[in-house]
Point group: C2
Chain length 135, copies 2
DNA sequence: CTTGACCTTCCATTAACTGGAAGGTTTATA
DNA sequence: TATAAACCTTCCAGTTAATGGAAGGTCAAG
């Protein structure tokens, strides 16, 4: 259970991504005589941790910080919480931005008859939102 | 009203971005004798169109398509609508993914006492979501 | 004639991978 | 034994949509 392919299956990360994570210093698997990577159970655990953190949208740098906290038995949970709260704030901002786009676009799409005629409220909106042609 | 700096103010796009848009063929401003870009009112209109489309989250390639439709007086509004609907679908998927992360993280953050003690439900979650340690 | 505000091009960097080339190793099979 | 399949390795390039900065040309004012 130590070759990269097996660890990929185990952790849910593509082998390519695992190599990338080693490149950027998130994991340091050992090497066997032939140069192949050898992953310890702790390495696999780290990679699964990373997969989960990434799936929750944490950036690689957040993951690096979370991993350090994870491995620091004397961490303060406040430090972890702070990282998560910042991330939650980012998520909330992204959702708000997307919902704003969604609202605007939904209205425009509803108004567009969508047939073979050229007049189109969507293009009208895009063209109208010009400082010069504001009215 | 034709220098890049003025067009930047007018369109709301950074000068750097306008040069980039020329690079990738979205606009083709004329050049004056000294090599400076000279923007026609139509160029400015195009750039404003792009700024608006980008602000609604359309990709550059979508923008390219929308701009082509905008300039095609014999377009079918159905073609525009299709692009917008695909984009709306992408937005909806992104929102759903973010909301899922938000829900999970909110629960974890609420559970984390966030003090100087090391035990932390957030790290527990990240570490627990391992195929091996599935509980 | 020089300072400052413009403008130009070109190169590097960002985030987080992903694809593919070129080549070494190991295992299975004919 | 030969060789092919199925692994593994490193390294380079590309993706999105810009952004930062260096090096240098131009132009109006004082």
């Amino acid at each position: 259970m130590t070759s990269i392919r097996k660890v990929a299956v185990e952790s849910g990360l593509p082998a390519k991504t695992i190599r990338y994570y080693e490149d950027i210093g998130l994991v340091r698997p050992a090497r066997s005589a032939n140069g192949y990577r050898v992953f310890s159970p702790a390495d696999v655990q780290k990679l699964s941790f990373l997969a989960r953190a990434r799936s929750l949208g944490f950036s690689i740098e957040d993951c690096r910080a979370l991993l350090a906290l994870y491995e620091d038995r004397s961490r303060a949970s406040a430090d972890v919480k702070r990282v998560a709260e910042h991330h939650l704030a980012r998520i909330a901002r992204k959702i708000a931005a997307l919902q704003s786009m969604q609202a605007t676009l939904t209205v425009l799409v509803e108004r567009c008859h969508g047939d073979d005629r050229p007049d189109c409220p969507i293009l009208d909106d895009l063209a109208r939102h010009t400082s010069s042609g504001a009215a």
